[in-house]
Symmetry: C2
Subunit: 201 residues, 2 copies
């Protein structure tokens, strides 16, 4: 059983340390040395593996994004009712791993990074599109012609609650956020919701 690539270990340690450090300090103004120290290696090694600070940031972003994607897929699997699948997506957004203050703070900073880095911008777009089309697929049968707008609204809502979490708005935790998003959905899909309630009764 050959011991796995050391390089892969180091890389992922550095990536994790990057997210963590950005999240903890709430800023992109973290030094490569800080990150490397947290990962238990020298800053030179970080440069060796990633080439530049920006590339390290991008790798960290990719990691967060793909982790999020995986969770969505996992949470949604098995569910077949469109509304349940939408709720699964929403729940995932506010799951303990994704809605951790550090991760949310990192997200916020990735948004900022996207303002200056084309690659970051592209990554974020990919994520947004994917979220949007995921939502849309489930909302089509629920909201018909309004589906696009509902999907846009849900996506914006989620980002809005993320910002609040980043600012540590005590009054809005994950549960409350989920409640407000589903509350919106209940209201906007009132016809369909009534159907659901009828079915349950």
């Amino acid at each position: 059983m050959a011991r796995a690539n050391v390089s892969a270990l180091r890389k992922s340690a550095l990536i994790a340390a990057t997210v963590d450090q950005i999240g903890k300090t709430g800023s992109l103004e973290v030094t490569v040395s800080q990150i490397a120290r947290k990962a238990g290696v020298s800053s030179a090694l970080a440069h060796h593996y990633f080439g530049s600070k920006e590339q390290l940031f991008l790798a960290a972003m990719r990691a967060v994004l793909s982790e999020f994607g995986n969770e969505v897929r996992a949470e949604r699997s098995g569910l077949v009712a469109p509304r349940d699948r939408v709720d699964a997506i929403v729940r995932t957004c506010f799951s303990p791993t994704n809605f951790q203050p550090e991760v949310v703070a990192a997200w916020l900073n990735f948004y900022v990074l996207a303002q200056t880095s084309d690659q970051a911008h592209r990554l974020l777009r990919v994520y947004q599109r994917r979220l949007h089309s995921n939502l849309l697929a489930e909302l089509r049968p629920l909201a018909g012609p309004d589906a696009v707008q509902v999907a846009q609204t849900v996506a914006a809502l989620i980002d809005g609650f993320y910002i609040r979490q980043a600012l540590r708005n005590e009054s809005l935790d994950a549960t409350a956020s989920i409640g407000l998003v589903t509350g919106y959905l209940d209201a906007i899909l009132c016809t369909t919701t009534h159907h659901r309630e009828a079915q349950r009764a």
Copy 2:
């Protein structure tokens, strides 16, 4: 008619330049020299008047916040129906001045600044509280016991659309954003909305 304080002129020029520069570059990593150059003065003068880069940033934030507050007040004045007043607030959020890409980008960066600066954090909180209580005052008669949640949702929605604007999501301009927020309100206040429609008919 004594010519106004030179110092006030310089200060406001520097503040405007700060917002502009942060907005244009989409980052807090702007140099005092860049800002000063844009304002037509030396960087030493910026330090002379503001003491530090952070204080300059905070002054810029205060300016944006208070400009926003003034606009809200102006736009809302004269309207008496709660729903109209809510709509006025929403409209102001997406008014040409406030929803300019540069200003929105500056906002986003102020959110980031609030992660590392207590003063910035406090400023943002004041703004958030004020917006919330403004919304709440109007929503109480419209949504009764749900008013708090509706206000929180509206506030989050607005922030969500701001993020989208910061990312230059072509598909969502000011008009579309206003439409989606009011769409939400129409749906959530459906009882009241029906009353309104009935009144109009």
